[in-house]
């Protein structure tokens, strides 16, 4: 499943769109790809767009929380964007916390939270 994760640069930030139902190797690949790109582009932050994700189980959540923590060690901030209501309800019931990562309703708000996207004026 190589190539199924793309990391997009938005200024000094990285934007990663998580596929809807990734298998475990793809989730692992996402983490590696993100960390490599953080280093390569000297990025200041990461936005993980999970708006298409329909199932967030404990493995997936742990990898996301871990990735955010690793990005933090590299001096970046992570915002998890676009969690669906059904996923938020399920994740809470399952007992997931995402390690206190920053979250936003959508990518736009996530970018603004990290100090990007305001240049075009408030929308």
């Amino acid at each position: 499943m190589t190539g199924s994760i793309s990391v997009i640069r938005v200024g000094d930030l990285l934007l990663v769109t998580v596929p809807p139902d990734p298998d475990d190797p793809t989730v692992g690949e996402l983490q590696e790809g993100v960390l490599r790109a953080m280093e390569q582009y000297d990025a200041k932050g990461l936005v993980l767009d999970i708006s298409t994700v329909e199932t967030l189980d404990s493995f997936f959540a742990r990898t996301i929380a871990e990735t955010a923590q690793m990005v933090g060690l590299m001096g970046g901030r992570t915002v998890i964007a676009g969690m669906r209501a059904s996923v938020a309800i399920t994740a809470t019931q399952l007992g997931l916390t995402l390690g206190g990562s920053l979250t936003a309703l959508d990518v736009d708000r996530a970018l603004r939270l990290l100090g990007r996207g305001a240049q075009g004026g408030a929308r």
Binding site: D24, E54, L56, F59, V87, L94, G95
Partner: protein, 137 residues
């Protein structure tokens, strides 16, 4: 072809977990569960199939439609011939994990579903059965 409302999937590789999630989503969708309930059921199935893969290596997931007193439901069974669980009460505690996991799979699946039963014998294997009933609209 497997019927959407009942079937069986062998769990042996990581991609089987994806196949199992798809099958459960298909069954729950066609039974008319709400979006949130579909998400709950698929998430529980993801936890329980991953437990098979992680602790037993291989096993099987079966699912079928339920009907009781005019209510519709879905039953999922996760069976393996793996090492079994010595202390089920401990395994059901949130935060208990023998593998450095979050220890949320079993207790979480129980909360997400309406009913759950675990039968396990050390050295013989584990069978977890969960059910979800459709709430009347």
């Amino acid at each position: 072809m497997t019927d959407l409302l009942e079937g069986e999937i062998g769990i042996a590789t990581e991609s089987d977990l994806v196949v199992a999630r798809k099958a459960v989503r298909g069954a729950a969708d066609s039974l008319g569960f709400s979006v949130t309930d579909v998400t709950r059921i698929v998430t529980a199935a993801s936890e329980l199939t991953r437990n098979i893969f992680r602790y037993a290596g291989t096993g099987v997931m079966r699912w079928h439609r339920l009907e009781r007193g005019g209510s519709l439901g879905l039953e999922l069974t996760f069976a393996d011939d793996g090492p079994g669980i010595g202390d089920i009460e401990q395994a059901m505690q949130a935060g208990f994990s023998s593998s450095g996991g979050l220890g949320l799979g079993l207790p979480g699946a129980k909360r997400l579903m309406d009913e759950m039963e675990i039968a396990s014998e050390v050295g013989k294997g584990t069978t977890v059965t969960v059910r979800k009933w459709r709430r009347k609209a």
